[in-house]
């Protein structure tokens, strides 16, 4: 029986059958209690992550501000005004000299030092801070002190130098903590979603193999259609959940004025989204192939662990990058290695350790790796999905000329 309508119609039929499979996954899983519960729990975690730091920031501990030179009363007034503007309690501690002030900064006894009419010194300046954001008290002091200098003295050329006093850091600048925390949020999201939905894929494949419906389905569709339909359907749910979480993160962040959401520069959101999609694409077929190796759903856990190892490594090490100054070379390599890049690259980018073009290069590498992984995974899946009995060994499946 020849296929009428030529290649075009065959392709459309191919897509139609795949879409029917995807549609079932979305309907069945989308209205399951597990999906509702996981969505609510994740949203609560996101909401708590945004709101709690913002609430704590309003009751921040008083900042100790050193003053060097000038009239103590006038400078204290400047610091108090800046504290008032930023909602921060301040304690003014006069310092005998700039050197003494810097020493106190390094030891953590002081948070900011105002040097009369010339500069504001802090321990570390944030690299991504544009004026007025993230710097908090130090930039407010710089603003107020600069204004008072302008108003009080109007020295020649003051306008040229600008109104605000310069803010100087004692150690080299780095990405702001809020930017890093946004990076952490991104990584947790990528890791949680890929692991959770990857497990669902593997469990779903294992279920179909265990209860043998796969034989009924494969009598009318090809294995690759079942595979693509399943990962697409589950992927749509994963992305919907991710989009909801990002929306809540940004929306709530804007509402409570969280510095966490402030740090979510569009760049981090975009890089996070790109690597979430790429990471899912890279891992979804691998999870499906792993699930196809077992005959009982209860054995799925043991076969998906090896698939998750690169993600676990990149995820665990991401904390060292987020709280360190500058990623080490090893972690940078992980950022370009397709299995680890989906987690590592958003961290590196958020921490300011790689420029945007390097993130783009990494994305291309992951995309290429995805194609490679999908081919191998589709072969494994197609050859093992109908084999029952003992667990299928990878070597058996990939041996030349083997078929179901």
């Amino acid at each position: 029986m020849s296929e009428p309508g030529g290649k075009h119609s065959v392709n459309r039929k191919w897509i139609r059958l795949t879409a029917i499979v995807a549609d079932r996954e979305i309907r069945q899983r989308g209205r399951s209690r597990a999906f509702a519960v996981s969505t609510i729990v994740l949203l609560l975690v996101v909401a708590a992550g945004v709101v709690i730091p913002a609430v704590l920031a309003h009751t921040a501990k008083p900042q100790r501000v050193g003053i060097v030179g000038g009239q103590t009363a006038a400078m204290t007034e400047i610091v108090r005004e800046a504290g008032h503007l930023t909602g921060t309690g301040v304690t003014v501690v006069p310092q005998p000299s700039l050197a003494a002030g810097e020493a106190a900064l390094r030891s953590g006894q002081l948070d900011v030092v105002l040097v009369n009419n010339s500069e504001v010194v802090v321990k570390q300046v944030s690299v991504a801070d544009s004026s007025g954001s993230g710097g908090g008290l130090a930039s407010a002091i710089a603003d107020v002190a600069g204004l008072s200098r302008l108003v009080g003295q109007l020295p020649p050329g003051a306008a040229d130098r600008g109104v605000t006093l310069p803010v100087r850091g004692l150690t080299p600048p780095s990405a702001s903590l809020s930017r890093r925390l946004t990076g952490l949020f991104t990584v947790v999201l990528v890791w949680v979603l890929i692991s959770a939905y990857g497990s669902q894929i593997a469990m779903g494949v294992g279920e179909e193999k265990q209860n043998r419906i796969v034989e009924v389905i494969l009598a009318s569709v090809r294995p690759i259609q079942l595979l693509v339909g399943k990962v697409t359907g589950i992927g749509v749910l994963a992305l919907a959940q991710a989009a909801l979480m990002v929306a809540v993160f940004l929306g709530l962040g804007a509402a409570v004025g969280s510095s966490l959401a402030h740090g979510a520069a569009p760049g981090i959101v975009i890089v996070g989204a790109v690597f979430l999609v790429l990471g899912y694409a890279f891992y979804c077929t691998a999870f499906a192939a792993a699930g196809s190796l077992v005959s009982r759903q209860s054995d799925v856990g043991s076969v998906i662990l090896p698939v998750q190892v690169p993600l676990i490594v990149a995820y665990a090490l991401s904390y060292t990058v987020i709280y360190a100054n500058g990623a080490n070379l090893f972690y940078k390599v992980l950022g370009f290695f397709p299995p680890t890049a989906p987690v590592a690259m958003p961290v590196l980018y958020a921490a300011g350790d790689v420029p945007a073009w390097q993130a783009a290069v990494s994305a291309v590498l992951v995309a290429a790796g995805t194609v490679w992984m999908a081919r191998i995974a589709a072969t494994i899946y197609g050859r093992s999905i109908l084999r029952t009995g003992s667990r299928v060994r990878l070597r058996q499946v990939l041996a030349r000329g083997e078929a179901a």
């Binding site: 029986m1 499979v21 079932r24 309907r27 069945q28 009924v216 009598a219 078929a403 179901a404």
Partner: protein, 317 residues
């Protein structure tokens, strides 16, 4: 021993052929599952597919659906190699039953119908119709796992019938059915065959096969060892006679028969079972019996399908 009675049943031979399995071969490691398996099934018939465990029935049925790869051979449908599109017009009930346990049965049937090129609306209609027909009305939104084993089997049958298939392939459809289920299944298979559908099913229950099928193929070690109309197979190429002569409990009269006419198989309290020699005339046996005394019983004794099965496979069904 191979029994082929195709030549003796012209009404089968002259009929059009829909499904053909030609020289199917497949090994699993050192186990030969199919060894050049060849037979054909005419449309509009209920065709039984018999063989001892491990004979290759399930592998052959899977091969029809392309879910097992063949080393050699071809499955043809109306003279053409089977395509994916043709397969979506087939209905399949695999030996290892399988559906989604936690999916509602109406949705599940609708899904499977759509995978067989039905529109969502027509799949839903067909699902409702079959659910009703199989006595499951009112359970549409029940999950499969909530149904009894027998009812799950009915849903599985509905899954195979949803899209009005041109070919129905059922692997052990009667296994695990209660008597009511057996009756429903029998009725539906006969009805489908009357509608022109080619029905191929495997079974170990030879009494049922005898009752339902017009023709069968018996396979052993991956090859066909007997095939043809059930009636022909039961008659066999050497007819058997059952004869009783009054007063002769030991069947002594038969012991004196010329071996060129008939040979005694067994004697059951005077009832002698004889196998007629090839080409011999049954009337010679009757003459001999009448010469020995009053003939109380004289009939052709057909063999049961189970005996044919035992003869050609050397095993019990």
């Amino acid at each position: 021993m191979t029994v082929t009675s195709t030549a003796a049943s012209p009404q089968v031979a002259s009929r059009e052929v829909s499904l053909e399995l030609i020289g199917l071969s497949r090994r699993f490691g050192s186990v030969v599952a199919l060894d050049g398996l060849t037979f054909s099934v005419p449309p509009g018939q209920v065709f039984g597919f018999l063989g001892p465990n491990g004979a290759g029935k399930t592998t052959a049925m899977r091969a029809i659906f392309g879910v097992v790869a063949l080393e050699a051979g071809q499955v043809r449908w109306h003279g053409q190699p089977v395509t994916e599109q043709a397969r979506r017009r087939f209905g399949y009930m695999p030996e290892e039953r399988g559906l989604y346990p936690s999916m509602q049965i109406l949705e599940q049937l609708e899904y499977l119908g759509r995978l067989h090129d039905m529109t969502a609306a027509s799949a839903r209609d067909a699902a409702r119709r079959w659910i009703k027909r199989l006595g499951l009305a009112g359970r549409e939104s029940a999950k499969l796992e909530a149904l009894s084993h027998g009812n799950q089997q009915r849903v599985q049958l509905a899954a195979a019938l949803m899209h009005d298939p041109e070919l129905l392939v059922l692997d052990e459809p009667f296994a695990g059915l209660d008597p009511g289920g057996v009756d429903d299944m029998t009725e539906i298979l006969a009805e489908r065959a009357r509608a022109g559908v080619t029905v191929l099913f495997s079974s170990h229950q030879l009494d049922l096969v005898e009752h339902i099928c017009e023709a069968v193929a018996i396979i052993h070690r991956g090859r066909v060892v007997a095939q043809g109309a059930v009636a022909d197979l039961e008659r066999g190429d050497r007819p058997r006679l059952a004869v009783r002569v009054a007063g002769d409990q030991a069947g002594d009269w038969a012991a004196r028969l010329d071996p060129g006419v008939a040979s005694v198989e067994q004697v059951n309290s005077g009832l002698v079972i004889l196998t007629l020699a090839p080409g011999a005339d049954s009337q010679k046996v009757l003459d001999a019996a009448r010469a020995a005394g009053a003939v109380e019983h004289f009939s052709f004794a057909s063999r049961r399908l189970s005996e044919v099965f035992r003869d050609v496979t050397g095993e019990e069904a």
